[in-house]
Every structure is written in structure tokens, then in C-alpha cells.
């Protein structure tokens, strides 16, 4: 049966490419994925899926959930997650950029799929197609979550809030990545054992404006903000693991000769574990409050996104490695999980599943890429798509009623 899955996925390759390329032409930034959601809903309905749109994510109107109910009492829910948002990046216009030379470049000015989520959504459609075909061999419910706003670690929490992970026994998600493992042994899939936890926030400083020639009448939001930047960067390094902080954008002040009454910074902290991230967050918030007060200002801290550290279930990974090793001849699945030196929104979902007694994993799908993630020249080798579809489908098959010894369709 696994050979069958592999064969079906291979046959689907041209369709996967077509889906991905169409999605690449209509990138939409976080919370604005309306055209994308409509396209995905239409394809899923055509396949016969029950599609939940409208408000699948608490407080937002993009994203969608499709379910395949295969029946069987007390049968498990297996949740798959695919992120669908693009980035506010202007796509490269040089002839060597493949999406341009092949004519599938972004049609939305200033927006681009520069993080591979077009590929992730296409993998989602591919899994939907294969699982639909395998439905009579499955039991339980397969839930395909097409999540908006992964960028900025914002979409996962409201998905969790809506309860889409509360009853899930199994969870899988993944990310196409360009990591070069070298040699012939390069894996196609690598489970992640930990990622950087992160908290994204804006700090808004309120001072008191006045003419620059009467400084004592005012309270400079620029001074408070600048002091905070220095002190944030100086948060003591933690000896128990990596911590990071970045103030990425600042804007403040009304005019050259006016004491600034207003300032805003966009910042993020990260930690090699959820606890280390919490350490950074606590320090950062305390510093911001006191830097504001020091200059007679006040500061509001506005949360903008949060992800815990991602921890795949070790036994789930081992079992998945065994399935792939025995069942999928075209896929190299790395046995040893890796640390992912980035943050990933799916962590909140995986944690929800595991805390309720379920299992799951987050996979990296290494493949050739033209440029780093988030670059305007980013593009990836589409041969990874059917491989990812095989792995996800095989996993669902295994945990929802299938077995290695089952005869082919």
C-alpha cells in the first residue's frame, strides 16, 4: 500500500506544480489570504471535501479547514496543518528568477510567496486528493487545517482557540527548507526536536510634545525609546541556552524642533526553550516600562505573536522514520531529529495535541532553493512536493487504520 501511495504522489507531481505556481501568483499577507482561501476552498470542494470557511480562526475571516470523516467509533482525529500566507516582499524582476522566466511570478505588487507557503498549501491539496482516494482504507477523521498568518507567529493561537486541535490524537506539519546537508545522503525529511520560542511585540511610547526650546515642558518619547533599545540589547545572556532579541523597526517624533510625544518600536525576543524565551520577555517588558518612566513617559506593550519551542514526539518520529524507511523507497527520512534555529507557529498546535495526550511532529523538507527564505529571489525545487505528500499521506494511513502489511488498493 505504501508503494501505492508513493506512486499516486508521483503521478500527482504535475498537478502539485500547477497548484503551487497558481498560488505563487496570488500571494497575500497575513490575515489577508482571501483569494488564496477561496481558491483552496474551491479545489477542496471539487474533491468532495466538507470545507469550513468564514470564521475557522478566532476573530479572523481567512484560512479554512477541510475534514474527511472516515467513520469508526472511537477512531482518532489526525490533524495536518498547512500555512498559506505570503510576505510583504517585492518579488525579484531579474530574468534568472525562475517564477518570472516561467511566468508564474506574483501578480500582487509588493507581496510574494518568499517563504514557501505556496508549496505548503499545494502539499495540502495533494494530501487531500490522495486521502480522498484512500478513504475506504481509513478510519477516524482527517482534518486539513489551512492556517493564515504563520508569519509573525500570529495564526496558530486563534486556530487553537477555536478548538481544532482539542480532539486531535495526531498532528503533522512541515516546512520546505533550503538547508544543505551535503553528499548523497541528503535527507528529504527531518523531524524537528526543538525550535526557538519567540514573542513578538510592539512597544508604544507616549511622551509629552512641546517646542524643542522648552525641553522641560515635554517628555521625549524618543529618549525613552532610545534608552530602551540600548537596555534591551544589553539583557544579560542566559547561561542555559541561546537567547536573542531584535528591535527591528523604530519610528518616533513629529518634527525636528518638537520634543517627541510618540514613538513605536517593533521587537521580538527568542529563546532556545520556552523558558529562555520567557526570561527574555520578562526582562524586556520590565526594561521598557522603566525606560518610559525614567523619562516621564508611559509605554504600552502590544503582543504581536508568540510561539513556544517546538517539540516533536520522539516515539512518533521513530515510528514515522520506520514507516518511511520500510514503505517509501523514494524518500530519505532522517532518523535523528534536529534543532530548528528559527521560530515556527505550529509549535502552539503541536503542544496542544501533546498536552492532551496526543502525538505529532514537525518536519523539515530540505530541497534546493535559489536564495534564503524571505529573499525576493527565493524559489524552491518542486520535486520535494510529491515526497512531502507521500510522507504525510503514509503517516495518516498508518495511524488511521492502515498497516504496513496491508495489500495494495
Amino acid at each position: 500500500m505504501y508503494a501505492q501511495i508513493e506512486k499516486m504522489a508521483a503521478a500527482l507531481a504535475p498537478k502539485l506544480t500547477a497548484w503551487r505556481r497558481h498560488l505563487h501568483t496570488i500571494p497575500e499577507t497575513a490575515w489577508n489570504e482571501r483569494e488564496t482561501s477561496a481558491f483552496l476552498a474551491s479545489e477542496l470542494k471539487r474533491m468532495g471535501y466538507e470545507v469550513i470557511t468564514g470564521n475557522p480562526v478566532a476573530g479572523h475571516d481567512t484560512g479554512l479547514v477541510a475534514e474527511l470523516r472516515c467513520g469508526g467509533a472511537d477512531q482518532p482525529v489526525f490533524a495536518l496543518r498547512f500555512d498559506i500566507d505570503g510576505l510583504p516582499v517585492e518579488e525579484a524582476s531579474d530574468p534568472e528568477h525562475l517564477p518570472l522566466s516561467l511566468g508564474f511570478q506574483s501578480r500582487h505588487a509588493g507581496c510574494m510567496h518568499a517563504c514557501g507557503h505556496d508549496g505548503h498549501a499545494a502539499i495540502g491539496l495533494g494530501c487531500a486528493r490522495l486521502l480522498q482516494k484512500l478513504r475506504h482504507h481509513l478510519s477516524g477523521t482527517v482534518r486539513l487545517i489551512f492556517q493564515p498568518a504563520e508569519e509573525g507567529a500570529r495564526g496558530a493561537a486563534p486556530v487553537v482557540e477555536k478548538g481544532w486541535l482539542s480532539d486531535a490524537s495526531y498532528f503533522l506539519a512541515g516546512h520546505i527548507t533550503g538547508r544543505d546537508y551535503g553528499g548523497s545522503e541528503e535527507p528529504d525529511a527531518v523531524p524537528v526536536c526543538s525550535s526557538l520560542a519567540t514573542t513578538k511585540f510592539d512597544a508604544v511610547f507616549h511622551g509629552r510634545s512641546c517646542h524643542g526650546a522648552q525641553p522641560e515642558e515635554g517628555a521625549s518619547a524618543i529618549s525613552a525609546l532610545s534608552a530602551a533599545v540600548l537596555a534591551l540589547n544589553a539583557i544579560p545572556r542566559h547561561s542555559q541556552g541561546a537567547t536573542f532579541l531584535n528591535v527591528g523597526r523604530i519610528t518616533a517624533g513629529e518634527g525636528r524642533n518638537v520634543i517627541a510625544g510618540f514613538g513605536r518600536m517593533e521587537a521580538e525576543v527568542r529563546g532556545a526553550s520556552t523558558e529562555l524565551n520567557h526570561y527574555m520577555e520578562e526582562q524586556a517588558f520590565r526594561i521598557i516600562r522603566h525606560c518610559a518612566a525614567m523619562y516621564g513617559c508611559t509605554a504600552d506593550i502590544l503582543p504581536q505573536g508568540h510561539a513556544p519551542s517546538l517539540e516533536s514526539s520522539p516515539d512518533f518520529c521513530r515510528e514515522l522514520a520506520e514507516i518511511c524507511g520500510k514503505g517509501l523507497s523514494s524518500v530519505r527520512f532522517a532518523e535523528k531529529p534536529e534543532v530548528f534555529r528559527a521560530s515556527e507557529d505550529a509549535a502552539a498546535m503541536l503542544r496542544t495535541v501533546r498536552e492532551a495526550g496526543g502525538k505529532g511532529a514537525f518536519l523539515l523538507f530540505p530541497t534546493h532553493t535559489a536564495a534564503p527564505l524571505h529573499s525576493c529571489r527565493y524559489d524552491f525545487d518542486e520535486t520535494i512536493l510529491p515526497k512531502a505528500v507521500s510522507i504525510f499521506t503514509a503517516a495518516v494511513f498508518h495511524w488511521c487504520g492502515g498497516s504496513l502489511s496491508q495489500p495494495p488498493l
Copy 2:
């Protein structure tokens, strides 16, 4: 004759008001005073003036100069300066705001005459009219300079560069102000003995962008800029007089998780004397360079405007006070010069004249105002207009051939 001047000025009051109100409807920001310049040129030509437009100010196409050549060998040049630019301020829309209720509010969205330069330009036209009438009693040349871009202390230097002050023996300029002197003895004109020298500049920081998770690859323009803000504010106070510094606007960075490659600050320094301002400037520039270098960045310092401290000629002021005291019954001229706790672009012109052996003064014209300078509710009592015209005209008459004892026209 001085009584005659006073009478002529009084008769001109309705016209002065009309000019001022028309100018108030067409405010234009610094270097964009095209409609204003065209209107002034047309009025001046109608009075018979030789008008120089096109390029009266080095490197710019706004502003204008009108000359009245009254003849006489070796006779003096008397330069009068009137500034004409508005501010990027949205005019108030409440019914109590007089320009609105009387229908002469700004017709240029986002722009307003909130610093009284509409009045200054109207005074200029008034002087032009009266001096044209008095021309047969005058000798030498009267040069009326309608200067653009006083705001930000930018326009005076290129006017000086063009040579308009090089041959001037006398110089006068003034500013309508709302200072409340209280009592019945409130003066209509006060000479300024010193103002704040100022240097306006932008500092542009160039760092090296990279992903926030590899901080060692980048060089944060935000860190450099923030360190500079703190250090600039901490420039040691000078014991010899007032010094000020303001960083009024900052903007830096590309995105939350990107080490900032770029930052810009808009700043200004001021000093109670040209030397004190120079002290601040030197310290500020050194700090900016080293703060950039400290974080592996570089910084460009872009000058945006400069004014020395303004120093009226003491004897010129005394003589002018005497003329006004004896000749102009409706005008109270303060004998004691005052410190002007602001910066004024005319300082560069006055200094040029004095350095070449000439004399001159800068006058404040106190009058009732509805709100502080630069406020969207600013408005002033127009009865000051004919008084200012009288004083300027009387001064020109005195130094260009007239005398107190001269018979009336």
C-alpha cells in the same frame, strides 16, 4: 514728513489686510512658494518695480527681489527682508478661528501660514507702495527681498550667496510676535540684540541588514542611532550660556526580525551665541560618528539649515528709536533691545551686512495673537501691519536722504 508716512500707512491699512488675507489663502511650504512669488511679483510690477524672479536665491526658483533705484552717486543700498513661506500644518476648522469665519482660510490642504509670514509679505508690499511714493525724496537703492524657506533656517544662506547683501549699508527685517508685555506701555516694536544660533541636520546611519537570528552578521543602525540619541542629549551643558539640542524625529529599520540596515534622525542644536551653537555642533557631529563606528555602522550628516545668532547694531537701534519716538506718534518703539529665545534666518543677512561695515536691526512686532506660533489656530491682530510699514518706511527715509526736519510732501 514722518507724520506723512504714518498717515499714508494708516490709509493703506485696508489694502494691507487684503494682501495679507489673500496670501493667507495660498500658503506654500519652504522652496515651493511659486503661487506666492507670482502674486507678489505681479503686485510689485503693478507698482512700477523692477522685479527679479526666476533665480534670486542660489539653487532655487522661488522668492523674488524688487529694487527701487533712487539715484545719487555713492548713495547707500538699504535692504529690507520679508519671509514668505508657510508651514506643513493643517489649519484649524473650528468656527472660532477667524480666518475660517471670515473666509480667508488656507486653500492648500495640509499647509498654513501659522508663523505670520503672510503678514510679513503684506508689510513688504506696503513698504513697496509707500517707498514708491516717496521715491523723489530718497537717494540710493531700496532693495526689497522676499525670501523663501525661512522655516528650517534654510533660505537666508543662498540669498546671501547670491550677493544681495554684499553692497548693502543698511538692513531691516522683523517678525510679528505674540509676546505679551502687559500694561498700557506695550511696545509695537522691539529690537533684538541676540537670538539663538542654530544648526539643523539629519544624520543617516548605514548598518548591515541581516536576519535577526544571526545578529553577528549584521550591524544595527537602530543600535547606533539609539546610542547617539542618548549621547547627544548628554552633551555637557556649557557654562557660558544656554545650549539646546533636540532629536525630533527618528525612523529606522526594515522589519521586526531584521537587523536594521538603515536609520535616520532629524535633529537640531541651538546656542545663545554662534560660539555656543558651534560647541554643540562639534560635540554632536563627533558623537554621531563614533556611535556609528561603535556598532560597525557609518553615518552621514546632512546639513538642513543654519542661522547664527542675530545681533542688531546698537547705534542703529538707538537712532531708529529716536526717529520713531520723535516722528511716529502712533508707534511705541522699545528702547532696550531684547533677547529673542528662538532662531531667525535673517541673522545670516544681518551678519553679512555688519561684517562689511553696514548696520541694521531685526525687530519684533508684538501684537495680539490667537494661539502660539506654529499652532493650527494661529492668527494675529492685523493692526500691527500699518505700524510695521511706518517704521520700515521711516527708517529707509531717514537713512536714504530724509531728515527729521524735512518738510512734508
Copy 3:
């Protein structure tokens, strides 16, 4: 009679010099003026004074008060103040230094009268001698206050606390100074209309020590203190007058590889008025508290001295100028009061007297000096001593019963 006073003072010159030189040999730092106090007490007792020692200053055992009770119901108390402390300065040892070449250099290693208080104390003894002789022409009480700890602005407050100024109608104090007025018109005495108010304080930072390799366990007092230094220097300049701040000494930390658990700074703020000084003080204290909290530390602020701005009574100064002008032929008394660009402890005493309805003044006594105040080469021209004695004695005589027209002794 004034001529008589002048003559007596002139005759006393050798004795004044002898007193001053002896005092110069026994300098003692603030609160340690025991040998000095004993010497002064012994001289005053020999003149027949009632001397209060032991505890004339709240909480301390140095300094002394001598009173001359001249009787008369409802007669005024006239308080004169002379400061007596030396400085922790090692006196110069080069042959050109007059105290060395004449053999009256400091015999106390590391301590020196480098601020002229030896002269002030000698003037006090001189006044005591003359007033004793004049006692039958006087009414009321003359109170001679020999104050310890003027340096650091520490001694005046506890003198006031003891009540020595509560019943005083008149107050006089002065300071020998090296200001060069140039020309033959150089005055011998100049009343002070304002001085810099000041607050001296230490800030002690308490952090949490730990090994430098576990920074997250500690809270660095060095980081908190350093942030405070920068922010203190960056307190916005006040537009209404001069303000100063100095952090003059810092010391913190236990060892190179230990997160600092402790830090101390010695600082002072100053302002051209008591209000401006208060502005600086408020800002400084707030900044220190928040810089400590920002880094998880706490800070104690320990007051070390305080002086308000000194304001002589204008009418008292005018009257004194008249007395000197008419009565003392050898003394040039400046009519126009001056700003003293330093802080002076006597301000607290003068304010107490004035707030209770009394009058008084602080005088500068310009004379030739060998080096700036507080320098190890400081020395002053002793011819100022009898002049100062004349002025003080004449003032007491005038306000305590004497009159210009009184016949000579």
C-alpha cells in the same frame, strides 16, 4: 565713627595676618575642625566673649558661636557667619608658593586651606576684636557664627536647625574671591544677588552578585549605575536658566568575573535658582530609581548637602553701599549686585533670616589670588582682610545702634 572703625581695622592688619597664617597651618576637613575650633574659642574667650562650643551645630562637635550682648530692650540680633573648614588637598611644595616660602604652609598632610576659609575665620576674629571695643556704642546682640563644613554645603543646615538664625534681624557673610574686575575701579566688596542652588547626593545601587558565567542569576549594579550616569547627563536642559549635573566619582563591583552586587556614585545637581535646582533633583532621583529597577536592582539616595540660591536683600545692599560709600574711604563697594556662579552654604542661613522678616547680604571680596580656588597653589592677597573687617563692623555698627552722624570714639 566710621573713620574710626576703618582706622582700627587698619591697625589690626598685622594681627589679622598672623591669625590667618596660623589658621593656614592647621587646616582640617569638614566636620573635623577641632584644632581650629579650639584655637578660635581660645582667642574669643581671651577677648572676653561668651563662647558656645561642644555642640553648636546639630549632630556635630565642631564649629562655635560667640555672642556679644549689648543690651537694650527689643534690640536686634545681628548674625555674622565665618566658615572655617579646609579641603582634602595636598598643598603645593614649590618654592614660589608663598605660604611655603614664608613658612606658614599646612602642617596637616593631605589637607589645605585652598578656599580662603582661613581668611574668613581671621576676619571673624578681627570683627570680634573691633566689636568688643565698640560694645558701648552698640545695642542688641552680635552673634559670630564660626561654621564648620561649608564645603559640600553641609554645615549651614544643622546651624539653622539649632536656631542660631531664628531670631536674627540681620545677617552678613562673605567670601574672598579672585575675580578680576580690571582697571582702577576694581571693587573690594560686591553683594551677591543670586548663586547656584545645589543638591549633593550619593546614590548606592544594590544588585545581586553571582559568577559572571551565570549572568541570569545576578542583577548588575554596574549596569544600573552606568545607565544612570548616561541618563543623568541627558536630563533635558531647562529653558529658564542654567542647570548643571555632575557625577564625580563612581565605584562598583567586587571582581572581574563577578556580576556586581554593589555600586556607589557621588553626584551633584545645580540650578541658577532654587526652582531650577529642584527640577534637576526631581529628574535625577526619578532616573536613578528607574535605572536601578530596570536592571532588577534597588537604589538608595543619600543626601550629602544642599544649598538654595543665595539672594541678598536689595535694600540692605543699597544701604550698606551707602554706608561704605560715605563712611569708609578706603573701601570700594560695588553698587550693582552680581550673580555668583557657584554654590554657597550661607544661602540657607540668609534665607532663614529673610523668611522671618529680617535682612542680609552675602558679599564677595575680590582680591589678587595666586591660583584658582581649590587649587594646591591657592593663596590670596591679605590686604583684603582689614577691608572686610571694616565693612562687617561698620554694618553691625549701623544696624545696631550707630549712625553716620555719630561722633568718633
Copy 4:
């Protein structure tokens, strides 16, 4: 033969304890180990060693080197290093502190062997004794280096400079440590694969002193130093591994009302690798220079110690593990090298040996300790001493002519 070595070491245990306890009574801080050096030299001479004292370490007069020349053409030099300095710590005086209750507490007030170097030196003497006995079974040269000033990472570099490692083929050193490995499997020796590289330095800031009321005349070393503290703490975290920085002591300034002309900071940087430490060093030095320049000051950076990251030779460790495993029945030698989260001066020696083609290792000797290293209650279980002697001696025997199959003595 290894059993013989083990037996000899066990027999030596009382002597090892006696040596260690005597050394514990005479702790001397870095570069002052004169009494210690004399005692060691005397013991070594008594054993028949050739002892080099006087100046075995470039520029210093403490420490010593003893050599055992066993002959044989082209035979290897095996260098063993033992550090001998104590710490400026006042030893605990509570009765539970074993050195006190047993009467071998420090006799040098304010100084203590709180880092186990008394034990290291005793191990050195023990090795000397055993190797002397084994000398006829050895070839080549055994060099016993008793190094001063390990604390602060200062002594190793001048030892290397003197050439004591230039001709060494093998190198061994170790450190008694309290790490708790738990369980019955706790090892007695663990090779170190990496330690924190470190650079210790002082930065001396030179400003320009002046009175606090004329700030513009001065250049505040306190401002420069404080800015540097903040910026040093804010050096961007490196993504490739742990980095640390500590400013542990600061002292600056002359007096409260004086602009500080002088300041000093004691600091250190660390990195998980020599490269990461170099990154920190480069950033730190650049920051210090520019912070000084920013405030018109200069800064001197005075190196105070340096250690690269320590990297034992993997094959040497494996071979040593095999020898211990097979030859020493009483010793558990850990196969897997560990990361040492501290800095160790021997790294410079080991690196010198390895760069010249030699091999070596640094070993941790875990044992029970009463308190953390550098604590005033530190004490260790002396049963580790004969074990360490066995291992060192066995290693020398192995690489200098001996073999596992050699018959016993």
C-alpha cells in the same frame, strides 16, 4: 606494571594528604607564590630532581620546573602541568569547615586555596615521586611544570613564551572538580573537549578634569566609561554558540564636583570557542575606543589574561581511556569527553603542543566538594589525589617507553 603504579599511588596517599594540607596553610595569590615555590622546590630536590627556579616564567619570579631526563635518543618530552596559586578569599571560620577543624586552614589572612590548586600541586609532587621510582623504565624527558597565576588566565602564556612546551610531544593537566555525575557510575576522570575561551582586560579611560561648573572645559571619563559598560553588555549575541561578557569592577573620578579625568574598568569576555571569544574581544575593543572618543577621552586597553578554548586530542583521550580501563582497576575513566563551562589557562599550553604536532589532554577529576569553587568553604575529598597520580603516572609510563604488557617492577 600499571597495577604497580596504582599500588604505589595508593601507598603514597598519606603523603599526598600531608603535602596538600601543608600547601593549604600557605596560599599565595597569583605571582606571589614564593613560599609555595620554595616548598615545592625543596621537596623536588630532596627527590633528586633537577629544579629550575628563579625565572621559569617570562617576567616573573615564582613557579618552577622540574625535569627527569631518562635518556634515549629522539625520545619524547612529556610535560605535566600543575597550577599552584591561591585566591584572595578569606577562609571560612565555622567549625564545620574541615580545614579549620583539622587544623590546616590558611595561615595567610585574606588568602585561601579555594580552587583546589593545593591538591594539584600535591598531585604534582606525587607524580614526581612515582616517576622518579619508575625512571629506569622510562625514556625521554618528563617535565613537571608548577605554574603560577592560573587565576585570571595569566600564567600559561609566559610559560609558553619561555619555551617549556615547544619541544613537548605529550601534555597532561587536570582540575579537581565537584561536578556530581550521580549514580554508581560516577567517573574519576573526564577528558575535556572544549572550554570557554576568555580574554581578561582592563580599560583605562583618560579624560580631562575640571570643575563641575565648567563642564565644557572637561572630558568626563565617567561618561565614557558608563557608555562603554552599556554598549559592551549590548554586543549582539552570536548565533553560533555561547558568548559572555562581564564588567566586574569600575572605579572613576576624583571628587563630587570635578569632571572625572580618569576611570578604570575590569572586564572579561568569554566564548564557547576561540573564534567566538575573538568576536567578543573585537567588538569590545572597538566599542571602548569609540566610547572614549565620543566623549573626547582616550582609552588604553590593558590585557590581563587570555585562554583559548581547550581541546584535548581525541585519539590521545581514547588511548588514555584504554590504558586506564585495562591497567588501573581503581579508576573510572569517562570515555566521552565533556564541555567545561569555564575557562582554563592550560589551554594555551595544550594548544602549543598540538600545533607543533604533539598530543595531550586536560582532565577533570570529579570528587566530593564541600562548596562551589572560589567559595570560602571550599574543600575537596582527598581520595581523588592518588587516583589522579595513578592516571598521570600511567600516562607518562605509556608514552615514555612503557607498555601494557611490561612485567611489573
